[in-house]
């Protein structure tokens, strides 16, 4: 057990938990509308340009991306280790998962701001 890991784990868990709640509240509606109903033509295309001109919407989207990606990264890290028996590579897997989550957030900030 490294002291670094012990310091990081509580923060990672809070991000995972917060991301789990945010994903649970928002993603089913977002996927249903933007991923299924709009492409099928059931709902009209939303006016994204107008929505994204609001800085609060952009901030909320960055928060959503950050939290949901950290939630997914945390679960993917533990699930790969448990399913494939890769616990001894934990450091590498953790860095990859959380690194990708940070990268996705950075890309979103770059797109929106």
């Amino acid at each position: 057990m490294s002291p670094l890991r012990r310091r990081a784990e509580p923060y990672l868990w809070l991000l995972f938990g917060g991301g789990g709640v945010v994903s649970a509240m928002t993603l089913p509606a977002l996927v249903l509308i933007l991923g299924v109903l709009v492409p099928l033509g059931v709902l009209a295309e939303p006016d994204l340009t107008a929505l994204l001109s609001n800085v609060l919407v952009r901030l909320a989207l960055v928060a959503l991306v950050l939290l949901a990606l950290f939630h997914a990264a945390h679960r993917i890290r533990f699930t790969t280790e448990e399913l494939l028996g890769l616990a001894r590579w934990d450091r590498l897997i953790a860095l990859t998962c959380y690194g990708l989550a940070l990268a996705g957030t950075a890309v979103t900030v770059w797109i929106l701001f």
Partner: protein
């Protein structure tokens, strides 16, 4: 009724083999009664642990048809076909159905499972209100039968994990108003609560209705808040 029993004779068998025994299909027999019938009347070499026959000593835990059970509280009438009896998963097998419980005892002692006090001894007993008792009572029902460890895939895959019963027992003392100890360093370790991915099977397996999964998630929140918020390193 056929009992398929896992046999392992150290020095003779390289790995466990199954042996089948025909036992009377009696409605009032628990699996443990059937095993005792085999030992008394059929094959005296069969080894297994048991003591109280009433679900309080926690000795007779085994895997029955793949599920961790107290064999004294699991009845032949609960099953139709052959019943497979194996040692609890996650522990080294010493012989037949007897497993090595030393790793479990070591984990229990890591969490200092006793009332920790500072200062002088009081003149009388520590008074406690019913609400203060209720705060931890559920977790004090544990009989150390290890069914929760056998049900936990995290523990079976990685025996370094502190495990459900030990963490629930730590919470039993953490939530006790008389306790002044601090188990943060043991519990908030990688092998402590953070090893748990909340499968929840420890709670389903518990014969005494303790909820170790809840104990672990609650302590995750406690440990996370204590790590993040300043001035909370030590409980007042």
């Amino acid at each position: 009724m056929i009992l398929r029993v896992s046999r392992y004779r150290p020095g003779v068998d390289a790995e466990p083999v199954f042996q089948e025994y025909e036992v009377p299909d009696r409605a009032d027999w628990a699996i443990l009664d059937a095993l005792n019938h085999v030992k008394d009347a059929v094959d005296g070499t069969l080894s297994f642990r048991w003591s109280c026959r009433m679900g309080i000593c926690g000795s007779c835990g085994m895997n029955v048809n793949g599920e961790p059970k107290l064999t004294c509280g699991t009845f032949l009438t609960d099953y139709t076909g052959p019943v497979t009896v194996e040692p609890l998963r996650g522990f080294p097998v010493i012989r037949d159905l007897v497993v090595d419980i030393d790793p479990f005892l070591a984990n229990l002692s890591k969490v200092s499972p006793w009332l920790i006090r500072e200062g002088e001894e009081p003149d009388s007993e520590y008074a406690q209100t019913p609400e203060q008792l209720e705060a931890y009572k559920q977790y004090s029902m544990c009989i150390n039968c290890m069914l929760c460890y056998s049900a936990c895939p995290v523990y079976v895959l990685d025996p370094d994990f502190l495990g459900p019963a030990a963490i629930a027992l730590a919470q039993r003392y953490n939530l006790d108003s008389r306790d002044m100890g601090d188990r943060f360093d043991v519990l908030s370790a990688e092998e402590g609560v953070w090893g748990c991915t909340f499968v929840g099977e420890c709670t389903s397996a518990c014969p005494k209705h303790v909820d170790p999964a809840e104990a672990i998630q609650r302590y995750k929140l406690t440990a996370a808040l204590r790590s993040v918020l300043p001035f909370t390193r030590r409980r007042p």
